[in-house]
């Protein structure tokens, strides 16, 4: 039915009737959205101003940026010209922050799910109602089960203040994917061996050789890190890349070791054995600073060049070549510690082997080595100390079950999830999710969904409607990194070989948040007031929060603003001065090649290789990595980035593809060893640059939530195929590269040829 009346006719006839209806009366009761304002003549000069103080969070490298703002509108992002880190550069993602800010799909108002978890039906509600519900539900859980009945899954700078509050509440179990699906072992095994966490502070520009084991620099674009890598190349450093795949870094390598997946530890042990055997390791350093050198020598003796070559399926001469290259250039070699380490479930040992290799080359605290960069320090905001009936640290699940002694901060997620399902050793019945999409981070998605279904209450705070938001009872919209204050970034000039400088910057908003999006300090304080903790609130608002973090530096937001967002002062070289002795914060005060602490906990005290599962017949190992313009699923809905790389092409060895009748551009699904099929499909990329026993896709694609209209079902979600995990005893971190896949094309299953 359509209205068969022209407006003109209406005005002539019906308007008279309509005039009698008290429209203005009902309208008068609503607040006006448009009001009288000073007349602004057309063509008035409108300035585009530069707003400083931005810190990027399209990924977590935190480049410093400025925004070009016209009226209320952010029109462009650029690197902060004052930055000594990323400089004026931003990567593709950094530039595309604007499309996140103005994404129509972004969360705008607090929502209540009046449908089912996983199949939501949303009602927009007020902040007051939303926070009242959150407070009531969380309090009900505390009353019934104690604070340990609440679990927190979080990620990113915006979760720091909320976390401090949940600590105050006595929450015992928190999980962050940054540790448990990424860097956990890199941090903990390095700590255990060297007594410090090098992160990725590797002095590549000043190295003579570099060894990257499974590092995807160039696909994983952390700006100053890529600059370091490229500067090293420019300066003539020789690069060894160990990877089953011809990655972006492999494309720059002098030696590409196309290793069989899962055998990296054997390779590292083989390198060490060759160096010991030939006496070409850094004897002075190793003898002086390492504990267990003799035992390590004996331990790796079985890894002859021949045995290593056979195990790793690589030419024996490559092992010799790499060992000679590294030894010849020691100590000025970058043995990269890696980043994402949750590969096979034996990764703590691999990182230990990496640390031991670094140690016997003495490749630290010197040009080219891993360096202990001297940054400024800043403070923390804590809520007051409270005595809890049960000590949250003792109630942490890993403590209760007495497992995972070398775990990173927090609770292993699968352990927590098991508890959420079983109620043992105690019930967890409320979940707070802050800025992390656990559907895409935690393997075995069906277990995650089961755990979510078992909760009494789920509160989710996020910026975009990611997959996990579909499971929220209450969904809260957060201001993005361009619209809030929070993180204090500290660093140095990007090249450690340059004049030492230190910088400090704090995240400041470039624009005001739109709609009803709120910053985390406001959200938590309002929640705390409703839970009866108003008197203990440590900072009143986000500005006060950041000023508190800055307190010990003598800086304030106002001062930083005057400095165009970045404070710079003279720094200190990370290289040891002549005669200066390195210090190692381990139990023994030395680098622990042999770890008594590990022995005490019944783990191998020397880095040990364990074989990983082989692919069943007809399947290949699924390996995953990064897409250069995406940060996992966080950027899946970004229109600019999705236009550049909309999905994750499936890398297949070209000879295998030929046998399978596949060609570039074919659309395929994947099916794993347990019969789990990918929900969405992707395109085939055939290449000689990958081994026949594995397939590669970038992680973070195949969004499940249709509310992400750009990213929905684009590409394959690798994590949906991670139905098997291998939980490592040292850390509780699960290896995920033990899942195997084959191809499904046009409904037909195609086996992968051997």
């Amino acid at each position: 039915m359509a209205i068969n009346l022209t407006r003109r006719n209406f005005l002539k006839t019906a308007s008279i009737a309509a005039a009698g209806i008290p429209l203005s009366k009902v309208v008068a009761r609503a607040e006006t959205g448009i009001a009288k304002a000073p007349l602004i003549p057309p063509g008035s000069f409108k300035d585009t101003k530069t707003v400083t103080g931005g810190i990027c969070e399209m990924c977590f490298w935190r480049c410093q940026l400025v925004g070009k703002v016209r009226g209320d509108r952010l029109v462009k992002l650029e690197g902060n010209p004052k930055s000594i880190d990323n400089g004026q550069n931003l990567c593709a993602r950094g530039n595309s922050g604007i499309k996140l800010v103005y994404d129509p799909d972004r969360l705008k108002y607090p929502m209540k799910n009046i449908g089912k978890r996983g199949a939501p039906k949303w009602q927009k509600i007020s902040w007051d109602e939303a926070l009242n519900i959150c407070a009531d539900k969380l309090q009900a859980t505390i009353d019934k089960y104690g604070p340990k009945g609440i679990a927190v899954w979080y990620h990113g700078a915006s979760a720091h203040y909320p976390n401090a509050y949940f600590d105050y509440l006595g929450v015992a179990n928190k999980y962050e994917p940054a540790f448990y699906q990424c860097r956990g072992q890199t941090a903990m095994a390095m700590m255990q061996t060297l007594g410090f966490v090098p992160n990725e502070d590797v002095d590549m520009p000043n190295s003579k050789a570099m060894l990257l084991v499974g590092c995807h620099i160039g696909e994983n674009i952390h700006l100053s890190h890529v600059k370091n890598f490229l500067k090293g190349l420019e300066n003539g450093s020789k690069v060894v890349v160990v990877d089953p795949r011809f990655s972006a870094a492999a494309a720059k390598a002098h030696i590409w070791v196309q290793i069989k997946p899962g055998t990296d530890t054997a390779f590292l042990l083989g390198l060490m054995n060759y160096m010991f055997d030939k006496g070409i390791y850094n004897k002075t350093f190793a003898k002086k600073y390492c504990l267990g050198l003799k035992r390590l020598k004996k331990h790796v003796a079985e890894w002859t060049v021949e045995k290593t070559a056979a195990e790793c399926d690589i030419p024996a001469k490559q092992i010799v070549e790499v060992a000679e290259l590294l030894a010849k250039n020691a100590p000025n070699v970058s043995i990269h510690p890696g980043r994402h380490a949750a590969w096979y479930g034996n990764d703590f040992q691999r990182v230990r082997a990496n640390a031991c290799l670094t140690a016997i080359l003495g490749a630290m605290d010197c040009p080219g080595g891993i360096v202990r960069i001297k940054r400024m320090s800043s403070g923390h905001v804590h809520w007051p100390e409270v005595d809890h009936e049960e000590d949250p640290e003792e109630m942490a699940l890993a403590e209760v079950v007495e497992k995972y002694p070398f775990r990173p901060p927090g609770t292993p997620p699968e352990l927590m999830r098991d508890t959420m399902i079983s109620g043992k050793p105690y019930p967890i019945k409320s979940l707070v999710v802050w800025g992390t999409n656990s559907i895409k981070t935690m393997p075995r998605q069906e277990r995650t969904e089961k755990a979510l279904a078992n909760m009494d209450f789920i509160m989710v705070t996020d910026v975009t409607p990611t997959d996990i938001t579909m499971w929220a009872d209450i969904l809260l919209p957060e201001a993005s990194y361009l619209e809030r204050y929070d993180h204090v970034e500290k660093g140095t000039q990007w090249n450690q070989g340059d004049k030492p400088q230190q910088f400090l910057s704090a995240r400041m908003p470039l624009i005001d948040p739109m709609f009803e999006r709120k910053d985390p300090v406001w959200i938590i304080n309002e929640l705390a007031k409703r839970m009866g903790h108003g008197k203990d609130i440590p900072v009143r608002n986000q500005e006060e929060y950041v000023n508190h973090l800055l307190k010990e530096t003598g800086l304030t937001i106002a001062k930083l603003r005057k400095l165009d967002g970045i404070y710079i002062q003279p720094g200190e070289s990370p290289y040891l001065k002549k005669g200066e002795e390195p210090k190692f914060d381990t139990d023994s005060g030395k680098i622990e090649l042999y770890s008594e602490a590990m022995e005490d906990e019944d783990f191998p005290p020397l880095p040990t290789y364990t074989k990983t599962t082989e692919p069943p017949k007809g399947f290949a190992r699924m390996i995953y990595g990064r897409s250069p313009v995406h940060t996992f699923n966080r950027t899946a809905n970004n229109a600019w980035l999705a236009r550049e790389i909309p999905e994750n092409p499936l890398w297949i060895n070209d000879e295998s593809a030929k046998k399978m009748g596949l060609k570039d551009g074919d659309r395929v699904f994947l099916e794993n060893q347990d019969g789990k099929k990918s929900v969405s499909s992707t395109v085939v990329k055939t290449t000689p640059g990958i081994r026949k026993d594995c397939l590669f896709i970038a992680h973070g694609f195949g969004t499940f939530n249709p509310a992400m209209t750009v990213g929905y079902h684009k590409g394959i979600d690798d994590n949906s195929l991670n139905t098997k995990i291998n939980r490592e005893g040292e850390t509780g971190i699960s290896g995920m590269r033990i899942n195997f896949v084959r191809i499904v094309k046009d409904g037909k299953v195609i086996d992968i040829p051997a």
């Binding site: 959205g33 448009i34 103005y102 108002y109 039906k121 009803e516 509310a707 209209t709």
Partner: protein
């Protein structure tokens, strides 16, 4: 591009009609706003029914009446449907009610066209009250039209409809159409479509 409507248009709008149109547009603006307790009640819905009757749209009025009689909590029902259509639907929002989403190459809020829309408001001595909402929300544009008619700025209103409103209303309506199952929003969109159409 068509020339701006000339002063003849204004001649067809005597002051009383202009005032009526101002009332109608402000009412339409409310129909496109998130239903809140403050205004969304029986009197509001009675008024809607009266308006439909006055336009000889009995079948529409009956649909609204039937919906009112069959749904206990009309406010909640309208809120959930509004959320689904315009805010954060499941599976996804049907049609974000912002001009820039339809006028600019890539779906985006707060685009260049949002800026020019707001500039237009300000040229006529108006501005948005809540700076956190983009100026080109359909409800705000309708309210602005109401303000113009109230001031008898007929030519400006016609120009706004022609230059700003209609170019995005059509694709917006098209995007919404297949999902317009709820009587309240089907009728609301028909009404708006009628009142913003170009005279033949």
């Amino acid at each position: 591009m068509k020339p701006d409507h000339d002063s003849n248009t204004a001649e067809t709008f005597p002051p009383s009609m202009s005032a009526t149109l101002a009332d109608i547009y402000s009412f339409l603006a409310l129909l496109m706003r998130y239903p809140e307790e403050s205004f969304f009640d029986d009197e509001f819905l009675d008024t809607l029914e009266d308006l439909l009757k006055s336009l000889d749209l009995q079948p529409y009025q009956e649909r609204i009446a039937y919906w009112r009689s069959s749904v206990a909590d009309q406010l909640l029902d309208a809120q959930v449907e509004y959320t689904r259509l315009f805010i954060n639907g499941a599976p996804h929002v049907i049609a974000p009610p912002y001009g820039s989403v339809y006028l600019e190459g890539e779906q985006s809020l707060q685009g260049k066209s949002t800026e020019t829309t707001r500039d237009f408001y300000r040229q006529y001595g108006f501005d948005i009250v809540n700076k956190a909402e983009p100026a080109d929300h359909i409800s705000l544009e309708l309210e602005f039209l109401s303000c113009l008619y109230r001031q008898e700025e007929i030519t400006a209103a016609e120009k706004f409809l022609h230059t700003f409103f209609r170019p995005w209303f059509e694709p917006f309506y098209q995007q919404l159409m297949p999902e317009l199952r709820h009587p309240l929003y089907e009728v609301s969109m028909q009404l708006i479509s009628f009142f913003v159409q170009e005279d033949q």
